[in-house]
Symmetry: D2
């Protein structure tokens, strides 16, 4: 195994993205992608000051030029033949729960741009690096992991703008799992079916007890578990929810 293998996380924020970055930073140098540097600056500092290595790159994941620049910045930092052990797509266009006829085209398009086109651009950018990880005989099969949601498998009323992007992303992950599994890359999709416990959701579901929300660190553990599965035992999809969740 070469020493250069990195992990790349797109969609780093205060929740899942940060937890995943910390988890993978224990083993790999990590690249943090987010549009707004405020979303990765503190985290990069934290990782770098605690013995890990992290760089943040301001990136609009739905823009091919911006994604191309990010790859160039990665190669400048880690060498042009850098390989990746893991790439995690955690970006999301957000959602607007509104009657369908009141959803502006921009909102609908943004969800597709981030979830579907963003997922496409991220995959085209990272798969060549993951294939290098295979060549370089990474300890664990290089992993490409996509974060999904309840809306990845159920499209409720007034959720069309969010669900269309999420269903498209799930389709992308399934196709890639089938194409790149035989090439040694482990592609997975996680259905996060519940509220994640982050600062923004502090007041939510309070009456349901302290375990009514998903732990972001727990999600990171599960992504790491997916990453360590051997080639003989690949999981494409997991669902994740609190024990008390109604589903």
């Amino acid at each position: 195994m070469a020493s250069k293998l990195i992990a790349i996380v797109a969609g780093v924020g205060p929740g899942t993205g940060a937890s995943v970055a910390r988890k993978f930073a224990a083993t790999y140098p990590v690249v943090l992608l987010a549009r707004n540097p405020d979303n990765f600056n503190d985290l990069a500092k934290e990782i770098n000051s605690s013995g890990g290595k992290a760089i943040g790159i301001s990136t609009d994941i739905s823009d091919s030029g911006s994604v191309k620049s990010a790859v160039e910045a990665i190669k400048k930092e880690f060498g042009s033949d850098v390989g990746a052990a893991a790439a995690i797509f955690n970006a999301s266009g957000g959602f607007l729960r509104k009657p369908f006829l009141e959803v502006p085209e921009e909102v609908f398009s943004k969800s597709l741009d981030v979830s579907a086109k963003g997922g496409f651009l991220f995959s085209q950018a990272t798969l060549p690096l993951l294939l290098k990880g295979v060549e370089q005989k990474s300890k664990y099969p290089p992993s490409l992991i996509f974060t999904g949601a309840t809306a990845s498998v159920k499209s409720n009323a007034m959720m069309a703008s969010f669900a269309t992007g999420k269903w498209a992303l799930r389709a992308l992950s399934q196709s890639l799992a089938r194409e790149f599994g035989p090439q040694g890359i482990h592609v997975s999709h996680a259905i996060i079916d519940g509220v994640i416990d982050i600062p923004r959701t502090k007041e939510w579901l309070k009456d349901m007890g302290p375990e009514a929300k998903l732990s972001a660190d727990g999600i990171a553990n599960d992504y790491w578990w997916l990453h360590t599965q051997p080639r003989t035992n690949f999981t494409w999809e997991i669902d994740l929810r609190p024990a008390v969740e109604k589903w």
Copy 2:
């Protein structure tokens, strides 16, 4: 029932679109939408000369301005308070079966633009007319029908660009079915799981006999059946395939 109720078909070509238009033209004036007028000119003539009424409007279904113009043209022709009995979305961005890393961004985006954004724009344009159909007490519940494919439920290797758009369209249809069913509109999704028998596919599957391909007229019959279901018995999804199809 007012006399003005119309049917609108987007994605009129030599196959399903034309058959659906002919079928619904037996009962309603039909509006034919396609980018290229060659795709509807002959059909409009055929319908108009055989006792029906049809107008074709050149429309780029993935462009909001073009869709807006189409609605204006419809209102100019049929009156500003025109209602619709049926709207059928049959457009598709086509597909390119290629290794993922060789799929150009334009191809990926086009599939999403037509299937996902096109489905969104078509729905936002036609739902107000379908709601008028409800007000005007149409004989059959106004119907919004989406044409899907095998790739709407299965995302195979090298099919990511097509499947992402089709999964997004299915998500759209499911959300709309849940939101607009209680408002009296019947939203359906048809999984066309096989090759449709059209001029372009004449030579395909010849060794499997004359019934190895789906009949476009048969699909139109099935869409009509969906249209005639009463409010007590709505079907959201059907699959359709030749008896000999492997699935």
Copy 3:
């Protein structure tokens, strides 16, 4: 087409079974199967006195001996080379919504016995007759239709005993569709997702208006529509629910 083709309906009660029998009796002599003759006696009389032909046979669909006797009675009535145009499985073991640890083994087993083993026995008994229908060039492809429920695709808390049987029945129908489709038999599965409007449910959902329940005659119409699909356009599965249903 020979004149002998019959339709066989298992699980005739006051709801779907009776409506289906009436619908198919307009075209075919019908055989009515139910354990309790009270469930078919009046219906048989009604059909026979209004120009159709019906016989009822008391049958325990979960018992192979009883099913065998039913087939013998059918052959005695219609000739040993009788073919079938349609066989509809509408039986169900009922359900008990109870905490899992309070469900008696007999209740759990009965659901499996009727839905799963009953479906198996009915299929083995009727498929040879349906294959004769193919040989005899029936006007419509001989049909084997199974009645499912919400619990065929969703297994809720306290519904295990019902859902296990229904999921098994759906699996049976999918396997048979794949095996017998190429032999010319149309196998379908209908997910009835809502309350059916029958005498027993008269008081249910009253506050939701007159269209909150499925029409049994509507279901029968849909089964007839499935039956008339040509070999080029087979539907395996439909869902059916009232427009106002939450799902």
Copy 4:
């Protein structure tokens, strides 16, 4: 945490069952259930002689009397208030890939008896013990894990007898996950989508390389991972297949 928590494995053979038993035996005393003692005798000896504790109990999982006797034997061995940390259902009625009309009733019934009724009896027998594990504040949430197969989600031609049982078992696991999750028990279902590498399959898929089959020890690792998930992050379902598997 009390010291008494045990793990119970039903369907111990030379593959998954044995690997799972070994894995859980590193932490818990294990109870091995199989009809034929040859399937657990050596394994029990191996575990007992390497520092663990195991007892084997000859049990017909489809027979309520036999399952009841097994529970009594467990309580005799570990005390009447024994709790369980894990219960793993790995039994299967086997399958016969044959044209449907050639499948004997006994074969069809056996699959249902083991997969569906066996799953029911095993769950009713072990859930009270798992609930005791919750009371006794087990380190990890008590787990009830079911082994599924490709045929749990796809019912192919000539696979009806196997698939009906497997779909029923999946329905059972989903219902139990919904009912017992809020009570602190983690119910999971694993779709094993490929050939497991066991002595009996030594010669299979040889031309596809050494990683074309699932590792039974890998499956056991994945079950252990499921077991260690905290209450905030429960996975109901995972799929597992070799990287090179076509699906």
